[in-house]
Structure formats: C-alpha cells, structure tokens
Subunit: 505 residues, 2 copies
C-alpha cells in the first residue's frame, strides 16, 4: 500500500484521516490543496467536518479559516459548509452549499485575484497558516513530493504552514510524475527578479514540491477520484458564440493583427469554451498553445488532434470521460502539458509578455463594457473572480462571453449598468453573445454602447436598452458616459421583485 | 539659434509653426508628446487650432484625433478644445475647456490605462498614426533626439507615425541630456522578453530617442515654458491624511511587513501627496526610492534632503518654483532621476516585481472598497484613470486617498455604492481620509464596510452609511455584499437634484 511513500521515516507518520483531523483545532487557519475538482484532499476535510458536527452537537463552536487554490468539491467545501465549519473562505468557490451559506451572511468570503493569493500570504496579509492539508501523488525517498492533479498554492502552503498533513492519493496516476514545473525563484520585494519564462512550454522549475519534513505531522492514504462535472456537448447558443469568436479571429488574421498560430489561449471552463475549442479544430488551426488555469476536456481533445501543440495550466478540470482518455494516454499528454503554481499560471508579468487571448464567461456586461463576473443583482455572490482579472487586464485580447439572456429570457446579460464591477470599461475589449460580437477596441463610451446594444443584446431587450441609452444621452448629468441614476439598476430591482428584468407589457 | 540642431541636413527642414501645421489635415490621427504640463509641443498645436478656426469660419469641418502621453496644457488641449478641433482624444486629460467639451458629448474620449497606450498602438487597435508632433531638447549630429521634460509615448509615436514634426524647445535646459533611459527591448507577442529592470535606478536603455530621419517633415524652434500648477502648501486635511498614512507605515514596520527603507513609492500629484512626502522627511526616513509617473515638487525636496535616494518617472510636474530649483541644481538631480517611456514607468511586470507602494487620489470609494477615480455622478468625466490602475492592481500596497467630504460637506467621498468603478473591491487595500485609515487587507465585504464607515466616513455622513449598511444586511437580495438597489445610487441622484448628498432634515 505505501509504495508511494519512499521516505522510510515518513511512513511512521501514517495515520487515519480521523486521527489527522484531531490536529486541526477551532479558529485555526487551514490551507488546503485543490483547484477546481482536482487535487484537493479527500479524507481529512470530511473527518474534520465530522469533528465539527460532534462539537456543535454539544454546544461548542468549531470553525476554521480555509484557504485553497480555487474551487474544490463536495468532499471539501461541501462537507465543511454543511457542518457550518468555516468562518472564512478564500479565494474562489463554486459549491452550492457553501454559496448558500455565504449569501446567508454566515461566513466571510474573500474574493481575490488568484494571482494575488500566494503573495498576499507571503506578505502576511492573511496572518499565520496553522496547518496545510495537501494531496500528493507520492513522496520520494528524500522527502520531496510528487504533486497531484492540481498545483494551485501548494508550494506556498507547504512553505508557510506551521504543520503539514499530506494525503497520498493512490487513485491519482503515478505517471503524473514529471508533468509539473514548480518555480522556486519567487521572492519578496525588493528582491524579486524577472521570471524567466518566454514561451508557454518553458520549464523554469522542478517537477517536485520541496517540503520541510519536520513540519509533516500526519500522512493519510486515500484512494478517491477527483470530481468534476460530466462533459455535456455544446448547446446551440454556445456554438453560435464560438462561431462569432472564430469569425473574429479570422478577421484579425486577415488584418495582420494575429497569425494563424494565434497567441497563447486562456479560457474558463464550460460549454462555451468547449465550443470555441471545437471550432478551432474545425477551422483547421494547428500548433496552437494554451497558457491558462485549467485543462478541460476540450483542450485534451485539441492536444490529441495536434490543434494544440502544448498547454500550460495549474490544474485539470476533466469530466470522468476526459480523465479516462487522459489516463489511457498519459505518456502522450505528459509531453504536452505543464502544471505550474497558480502564482505563475496567472502571473501578470507572464500573461502580458506572452500576449494571451483571454476568453472568460461573465454574468453580465453593461452598455459601456463594464463586466460583472461575480454577483447576482449586486449582492449575491456566484463563484468569484477567479483568474479572470489576472488575464483580462494583461491579455493581448480580453474577451467576455455569455448567452444574451438566461433563465428563459427573464434575465438579460446586457444591462444599462452592471450591478457589480469586476472588469472595468478599461479592461474589456470584446463582448460576445449568441447575437453577435462587439469589438470595443479603440472606442469611447457612447460608441461602445451602440456596438454592444446592436451586436450583443437580445432582440427582446435591445429596444429597452436603446431607449435607455438615447434618453440618457439627452438627460444625463454628464454626457461622457450617459446614465440615468434612478433607472440604471432598475432592471436588477425588477428581477428581484418580479423574477424577470422584462417590464410588464 | 539652431545650435541645438547638430544634424546639418535636418536644419533644412526648419520652418514656422504655421507652415508645419499645414502638414496636418482634417481627419488625421495626430500623436503628440506631453505628460502633465511637461514636454508637450507648444507652437504647432496653436497654429493648428488657428487653421481649424479659419476652416470652420468658412463652414468647413476640421477635426483630428489626438493621442498624447497624458494630460498636457492650455497650449495643446486648451486651444484644440476651444477650436472644437478634436473628434477623439486619449488617454488622459485635465484641461477644463476639453473636459467641458467631453461632458457635452461633443467628442470621443477614450480613458485607458496609461501602460496600455503604446502597446495598443503597436497592436493596431487605434489605426494608423498620420503625424507625430514631438517636443525635444535637441537633435544630435547623427539625428538622434535628446528627449524633453517628459518621455511619455514618444518612442512609440516616432516609430509608428508616418510623418514627424519636431519642436526643439530652447527653454528646456540642454543639461537634461543624459537623464533619460529609453528602452528599446519591447516587442510584439510572441517575441517579448523579460524587461531587465530589477531596481528603480537600473538603466536598461539609451539616453536618446532614435528617429527615422526620412519621416521628419518639419522642425520648429520654440522657446516656451512648461506649465504646471503653482505649488500650494498642504492644507489641514491633507496633513491629516498624510499623518494617518505615515502612522500606518510605522505600524507595518513594527510588524515586519515593511522595512524603514519602505518600497519604491508611486504617487499621484497634488496637495495630499506633497503632504505625505513632507511627512516622510519629518519621520526621519532616508534612502527611499520612487518608481512613479511624475516627479512633483515634493520629490525634488526629498531628493535634495536625501530622504529619496533616487526617483524613476516618465515626466516632471513641477511648479514654477520647483522648476527654478531643478534648473539651478540640474547636475545634482540628473544623477538621481531617470525618465523612462510610460510603457516602462507603468509596466505591470515592473510594478509587481518592485512591489511599489501606490498612493493615488480618488473621487469616491464605496463601503465595500470599490473606487471611482474618474466620473462625477457616474456620467461626468473628470480627468481619467491615468496610471492608477497599472499601479493599484500590481502594487505591494494600493492606497486611495481623499478628504472625506468635498464642496463644503455637500459631497461625501464615502458612498453606499460608487457611481463608476475604476478600481474594484479586489484591488483596494487601504482607504484614507482625514478621519482615518481603513486597512482592508484580508477582509471580506461586510468587514470592509464596517472598517470604511467607522474609519473614513465624515461624522455627518457616518450615521447615514451605517443605517444603509445595517438595513442592507437585513433586506438585501444576497448578504455577501449587501445592497439596496433602489437606494444604492440615491446619494448621487440627490446631489444632481439638490446640489448636496445630505438629505433634507
């Protein structure tokens, strides 16, 4: 069983998840591995949640602060949320139970750029890390760790935590060894140096995580799968959005602003992205690269087809079918995939240098190009900003995508004023819906408004937006960015009151 | 007269500003030097404005697109605005006449991060540059140019423009020669390399601007001063803001998060900044550095006192008294000041690497830490975002400062929801008013709200903010970032309607 633990001394620290969980006490700051449903600890959080429920059953409070790479899965965020065991959570989450608790106001959630998490920890902005709980594939004879299916902030957690609990997950393929590139050249200012990465495939670090062995207080063996959503084929709207974006790429190639090799691709996860990736294959693109956060199913397929030459990321986010394909051809993929710490995958220096094409989903955009990625009606958090800010601000092209309406047409993704801003008018270059693509580059606010309304709004909402904009152009306090403040957020208020943004006829 | 033009052939292209201005025609894109009231062309824009007025007197339209480094002065933005001669202006302005035209909706103004301007020009996002009009100090025998009191985007304008008009300004000291560092290592992706600057004082380029001589169509000699506002001593509120910030620095030093050398300082221009700089001198700081956009009076004084060891910027912004001091001791200052292109002074890669302390003014912040730097009541542009986004997103510390009220207490700088977002909740670490300092690091939205309301709001508005926040915590749609959308912008609407944010008693 413990052939994955080559260091003889460390075998002595093997214990059950239940025993390991006793090393975590109320009020502690616990840093965990995990980025999307990959590489998160699968046993200790559940044992910890059980302890919390037992404590609460006898009237005690048992809550901890939880830091991760990004979202995780039911076995981590889900169980701790259900146990009401988190007083603080950062930086990104997507668990339904956790989201409900956050929006009930029961815990503090800090939504922070993914590239900021490691450095803010180093800066001391989050206080001391008491315990790190990190999933790994194995432990070498000298104590170095083979990272798992996500890297996230693990390097920082291992360095910054007082104590370390490792989960060695036998479900993860041993052949992941060698796929990772852990960069050890970071420093605190004023001692920082240029990061020597100039192509997405460059390896600038080591395949293993260093680990101060004296800090390891427990090792738990597991055999449990990563969990991500099943792959569903792109729907009509996703394929239309992808079509507009692919037409735009061809337009840019014709005008000499892109070559057929494009530039390193970054994309979020989901149907729209998978449709864009599928479209790249159909469009005959070859030898592309990705410099992104997560490897999703679409990228695996493109690697197989040679459309993608290689992909750099910090994590996988594969469906069960995608995992099967990946495991069956791991030697092929290991040559073509590099997993890095998220402070590198999302580093502004590198995104700007490489000139990424950043493609991210959104909740809504307003007529001036401000984008809301995080809040429903200005107050309810969905998931978080993730890395979209790292990429959008620094990319060669920043693209935001959404169907023009959701909830059966009751909610428009194009609104007079967004109810929360995550990406400002200064950062949005392209907005795409199934209706069309708005190219905002080189446009002033009122020009952007006409472009977005005409190209992206759903026909059911377009006349309402036109009417708002025209009236604002006449009646606004200032006419640089015309707005009517008594109406700017009225669509969201109507949605709260009536369940739809559409006014009564 | 023309000893400043060492290249014999180029002397043949000397002409009057009036003649040079005939080389600029309606509809052209004209890129000009200038960053704050320094280094902008002083004669050709005025001659151009006269041509425009003549054309308009006979019923012709004569407008051009104007790109600069940042704001300029009455002889450029002022005269062109009064002549109604701009159809487009970017990236930053502060001229009252121009602002009035923009807010009347008469021209397109694109407010863009200062670090983005050069690269978006290279990317082709603004189309072709027809003419560049660049002020220089002199021309070497081989045709290289001695840059003037600002560098801004001049390297890019010279490279990208079809034709070049030079203004050789004899008022600028010849001794500026050698103070500049023009980096020629930029490239388009995918060919970009790390920028080899690791300390603010590093020189990574050349002291001269290269210039393709065949593109020079006119050289105009001038003898006219740069224009910036006179220096006024800090008022009480500015000194209080500075005091809170300096206390915070000491607090950070005590907790080991800063050393007494601090980190490279970036600051906007104005009273508050000058008060902070004066406070650093009084606090006994020595050997500090600045990595910033502009050298203002306060920095000159700190250099003289040895509080600042050196300063890197892209421009001067000195009062007439500051210019006198600078000119009188130019050899001293040339050893301690480096002027760079704004794509370098504001580069995210460098700001992040150096770990700057970014201190910028703001129009307003909301209770959750979103900052509005640009718009009054959501629609009237003031100046623009400038470089505040480049610095705030990438800094070690991002600080935003304002008096808690303006307009004799009629306007609160702390509001329920900002009417425009330039810096998101994800990017604001510290908010300071004369009331106090809110440290938002590691805080979730509701924690931030309590901190900002208690520390920063003016006592006249504090109870109103508390009441809004408490009611929002009870009644909001979601309770992660509680808001009441029917009231969130009501303070701004009240200001528009009644001239004050304060409700009637």
């Amino acid at each position: 069983m413990s052939e994955r633990i080559q260091h003889a001394g460390l075998r002595q620290r093997l214990m059950s998840a239940k025993e390991a969980a006793t090393l975590i006490g109320p009020g502690m700051t616990v840093a965990m591995s995990g980025f999307t449903g990959a590489g998160y600890p699968k046993a200790v959080p559940q044992a910890l949640a059980e302890r919390m429920e037992e404590a609460q059953a006898v009237g005690e409070t048992f809550r901890v602060k939880v830091l991760t790479g990004a979202s995780t899965a039911p076995e981590l965020d889900g169980v701790l949320a259900q146990a009401r065991g988190m007083e603080l959570r950062l930086p990104y989450q997507s668990d339904p139970a956790l989201r409900e608790r956050i929006n009930a106001g029961e815990l503090n959630y800090i939504d922070i750029h993914l590239s900021h998490v490691a450095q803010h920890t180093w800066f001391g902005f989050f206080g001391k890390i008491d315990v790190a709980v990190i999933e790994v594939v194995g432990i070498l004879e000298d104590g170095r760790l083979i990272p798992s299916s996500s890297v996230g902030n693990n390097k920082t957690w291992l360095e910054q935590a007082d104590k370390i609990i490792l989960e060695v997950n036998h479900w993860q393929p041993a052949a992941l060894e060698g796929m990772h590139d852990i960069y050890y050249g970071t420093a605190l200012p004023p001692s920082r140096k240029p990061i020597p990465l100039i192509r997405p495939e460059d390896r600038i670090g080591e395949p293993y995580l260093r680990c101060p062995l004296e800090k390891i207080v427990a090792i738990v063996e597991t055999n449990a799968p990563d969990r991500n959503s099943p792959f569903s084929p792109p729907d009509v709207a996703s394929r239309q959005i992808a079509g507009h974006l692919l037409d735009f790429f061809e337009h840019e190639i014709r005008h000499g602003r892109l070559t057929p090799r494009l530039l390193p691709l970054q994309s979020g996860v989901g149907n729209i992205t998978n449709a864009v990736l599928a479209g790249l294959a159909e469009g005959g693109y070859r030898d592309l690269t990705a410099f992104t956060e997560v490897i999703q199913d679409g990228m695996i397929q493109l690697l197989k087809q040679g459309v993608l030459r290689m992909a750099s990321a910090t994590s996988f986010s594969l469906s069960p079918e995608g995992i099967e394909e990946f495991k069956a051809n791991l030697d092929f993929y290991r040559e073509r995939i590099v997993l890095r710490p998220q402070e590198i995958s999302n580093h502004p220096e590198l995104i700007r240098r490489l000139g990424c094409i950043a493609m991210n989903g959104m909740i809504e955009a307003d007529i001036y190009g401000n984008v809301n990625s995080t809040h429903i009606a200005g107050s309810r958090i969905m998931n978080g900003i993730g890395g979209s800010g790292d990429f959008a601000r620094n990319a060669y092209l920043s693209v935001f995508m959404s169907p023009s309406t959701v909830k059966d047409g009751k909610v428009s993704a194009i609104v007079p004023m967004v109810s929360h801003v995550d990406h400002t008018e200064h950062d949005t270059m392209v907005v795409v819906t199934e209706q069309g693509l708005a190219d905002l580059r080189g446009l002033a606010p009122k020009q952007r408004a006409r472009e977005i309304i005409n190209k992206c709004a759903h026909p059911a909402y377009r006349p309402l937006l036109q009417e708002y904009f025209e009236r604002a152009c006449r009646e606004s306090y200032g006419r640089h960015t015309p707005h009517l403040l008594t109406e700017a957020l009225s669509w969201h208020q109507r949605f709260i009151e009536t369940g739809t943004m559409m006014p009564p006829r």
